[in-house]
């Protein structure tokens, strides 16, 4: 079972309730991590593209997809262990196409379901003049939108 399936199960079965107005004034977008999307599709025949998008839509009424996305997504540059090789300048250079994409979307919040992507975006956003871009785990978004009590 994946984190996507677990979150979907909680929402569908009514075990958690979400307030979609919590971030109604924000412009959010979603980044497909290579290994949950394209690589999972290539290796195992199922890419997790729709599941995280469905979860995002339970948390906010409006959000904007990046282009291109899904199988043609652009990698953030933080995967495959590159956060821990010490080749940092190269890793920043790698992210330039991703940041072009994010800037074009006009988003001020980027939702990701991957620890490597999350680390990379936070580490290099300043290099691309986007220090105000909020990087949010998908499960952090869900936790923030929880209606408690």
């Amino acid at each position: 079972m994946t984190v996507f399936d677990l979150l979907i199960e909680y929402i569908r079965e009514g075990r958690i309730h979400l307030d979609t107005s919590r971030f109604k004034d924000r412009r959010a977008t979603y980044h497909d991590p290579c290994n949950y999307g394209r690589q999972a599709q290539r290796r195992f025949g199922h890419g997790f593209f729709e599941e995280p998008r469905w979860i995002l839509s339970q948390c906010m009424d409006h959000w904007q997809d990046l282009y291109p996305a899904r199988m043609n997504q652009i990698c953030c540059g933080g995967g495959g262990g590159t956060l821990n090789t010490g080749y940092n300048e190269e890793r920043i250079f790698y992210a330039r196409r991703k940041f072009d994409q994010i800037k074009t979307s006009g988003a001020d919040m980027l939702v990701v379901p991957c620890h490597s992507c999350h680390g990379q975006f936070n580490a290099v956003k300043k290099d691309y003049g986007m220090e105000n871009l909020e990087i949010k785990y998908l499960w952090e978004l869900v936790a923030d939108c929880l209606v408690v009590g």
């Binding site: 262990g81 991703k98 499960w139």
Partner: protein, 223 residues
Amino acid sequence: MVLEYSPMETQSIIALNTLEHGRCRPWPFLQDFCLTCGICAGACPASGVDGFDPRKLVRMISLGMEDETVSERWPWICTMCGKCANLCPMEIDIPGLVRKIRSRRRREEVPGILHKGLEAALETGNNLRLPKDDYVFILEEIAAEPGFEGFTVPIDKTGARILTTIHNKLVNTHTEDLKHWWKIFHAAGEDWTVPSENWEGTNWGYFTGDDAAIRKFWKNSVL
């Protein structure tokens, strides 16, 4: 309608069916079928670094230059994102090739902290060599913060429905990020647990191409 083949076409079909692909046996990533089109190089965000790109790497393997690729930095700058392979008209598994090249590095020459962290995980159950007492203290300290009244971290609970692991940065530099799943589990009334030992969820053997270490790592954590 019956298809008819010319003698030349028949000859090619026989040749294709008896082709040995000898070099694809130790390196089974179809590198010898590269058409040299360069789509991979155009798609790759790491093209140009060190004068490398995926096409050059594939050609080097096809030409028998494995050792030369192993000593290059580039296979460690590539993230194995798979954009190249997704577009390759010959379905060459370039990320698989990169990972195989990484696996050929002498372990003490693996860049950065990747192999050191993996060794630490195999010896101590986590990439940081964080002692059990410190780890448990951190979890309990975070759970005692405001907003977590009536919540305790269910460490080593037997018979729980869900066993979780932890990314080492969440008990190191990013402890705030432990809370998101805790809030969700608490709200959902989930029956879950987290182990006091072998709790590491980040297996760097995937990155270093070390399949034996991957198996040992998960065997430690699951059993």
